[in-house]
């Protein structure tokens, strides 16, 4: 299979893996969670390095995921019951964890280039090169695709099994709590999902694309969707469209593919928004003219 197809395949997988938790996060007003997790993984990376002493990047995954989950939980807990606005708690928690990470690195491993940019964040362009192999050397496809596929199956199962629960706990958590839902548990599962997907995706495609795919495609879908199901599907769709168009333009201009995909999410947002705007304007004017026309004639 062609390299470029693997890149597209990974891009679309990342788009879907991010759009699912991204939609729920957006509805819970926590769209910046991706950014927060991207920075809050630093102490986890240090911890993984300290425990293992090695430099194989796979060992950084669990450390980073746990650290990201702790951050996400802390943010959710701090902003519960409006103790603190959600953006203030986000700003507080991830800067704190990042600062702790920098302090640990400065104190104990100054001589190692140990930051998430270097040891965790990959780039989508390398995905086709990093493949799993059988002992005979037969290629089983890119690691990233495998990891993302597993994550995706996990998510689809979690979202599908609890679809109604996700809807209720996101829409009206107070009612859900009184009806006997353990709202905190749903929130914790969502945060674990987000942390897992972000870290898995950071490793294959880098941070900026994950932050973009968590936030922008759900926002595009939210411009017009009227049901949660449509919201989930359409944000996957817009993520995929951004992937394909960003990839094409990056090849054309020979620039960073991840960066271009992130930019394209923004471009598609503008396109969809203007399309909706023009359609509404067109409908309104045709409505107005038809109504003006009838009484006079």
């Amino acid at each position: 299979m062609s390299d470029q197809l693997w890149i597209l395949c990974t891009g679309i997988l990342v788009a879907i893996v991010c759009a699912l938790p991204g939609s729920l996060l957006m509805l819970r007003r926590q769209a910046l969670m991706g950014d927060a997790i991207a920075h809050a993984v630093l102490p986890g990376i240090f911890w993984a390095y300290w425990v293992s002493g090695g430099a194989d990047s796979l060992i950084f995954l669990p450390g980073a995921a746990i650290s990201g989950w702790v951050a996400a939980q802390a943010i959710a807990w701090l902003s519960k019951d409006n103790r603190l606005s959600s953006d203030a708690s986000t700003g507080l928690v991830f800067t704190f964890l990042f600062a702790v990470g920098v302090i640990l690195i400065s104190a104990f491993s100054r001589q190692t280039d140990l930051d998430q940019e270097c040891v965790l964040f990959g780039d989508i362009i390398w995905v086709p090169l990093e493949v799993f192999r059988t002992e005979q050397g037969l290629s089983l496809g890119p690691q990233a695709v495998w990891i993302l596929c597993i994550t995706l199956v996990l998510f689809l199962a979690v979202i599908f099994i609890g679809f109604k629960g996700w809807m209720l706990t996101s829409f009206d958590p107070v009612f859900a709590q009184i009806a006997g839902y353990r709202v905190w548990l749903w929130s914790a599962v969502l945060m674990a999902m987000t942390s897992l997907s972000s870290v898995a995706a950071f490793r294959s495609v880098g941070a900026v694309l994950v932050i973009a795919f968590l936030a922008v495609p759900p926002a595009i879908a939210a411009l017009y969707t009227k049901s949660l199901r449509r919201q989930l599907w359409d944000s996957c769709f817009w993520g995929s469209i951004s992937t394909v168009s960003g990839w094409g333009l990056a090849l054309y201009w020979d620039v960073s593919i991840s960066g271009m995909m992130a930019v394209m999410t923004g471009v598609w947002f503008l396109i969809v928004w203007s399309f909706l705007r023009i359609r509404r304007w067109y409908k309104n004017t045709s409505y107005a003219t038809s109504h003006q026309a009838t009484p006079t004639s």
């Binding site: 007003r29 950014d35 700003g91 104990f108 973009a212 020979d254 960073s256 995909m261």
Partner: protein
Amino acid sequence: MPESLWIHDAGLWWLLFGLICIAVSCGLTGVFLTLKGEALNGDVMAHGVLPGIVVAFMVSGSRDLIWLIPGAALSGAATLWAKRWLVATAKVRPDSAAAITLSVFYGLGIVLLSKVRQSGTAAQAGLDRFLFGSAAAMLTDEVWIAVILTLSVVILISAYYKGLTVFVFDPEYAAVAGFPVQRLSFLLTFLTLICVITGVQLLGVVLVASLLVAPAVAASAWTHALHIRLILASIFACMAVLGGGLISASGDGLPTGPWVVVILSFFAFIGIGKKYFVRKLR
């Protein structure tokens, strides 16, 4: 072996004075930002400066801060403008709008970086980190600039105190009552820009967000009066800089900026804990 005890080191106190100035102006601005529900504007803007830096480099071909800082400021302002447009016109929620502008602008920065790399000039090496220094390495000129900036922030805030209060509390009412909403909104953007551009050079992209958020959160736990909250935020910012500076001066491997942030976060956590336990105990 130090020649003199560090307490008597005038340079240290001068540095701490400069840092305090910046922390205080960030703390004051942060109180308004946090109340307005825009606490993360600092973070968004700090990421949004990247395309500006790269474009400034592409245009000027030099890494001189005289070129990079205006580029950074323009693109930072554009980021906030885009965010505001998303919220006001496209009816996107503030948190989504923040994430959208942050990721798209940063993505644009990466695209430009990958393009500028192909030009192969040596000067572009390390461009993405060039603006980001260390809090311990503040220069004398920069202290003076910090003093001037802080004075202007304080003067601007006191001059527009009433207007800002009403604007932050209830923008619609402020518009109806005839406050210059456009100017106030511009003022808040301008204040954020000052704080972010100076803060980014001392603390880096990530930690500057903390200077804006943490003092405001810490202060909000102890008082409901806005003017006291502003004073408290400044005091917390001062204490954190002093604490962080002294810790950092006490031994090697203790970076100044991150320690200031950690102490500030502790103040904020203590504030949140105080609120929480008071509620629990009664």
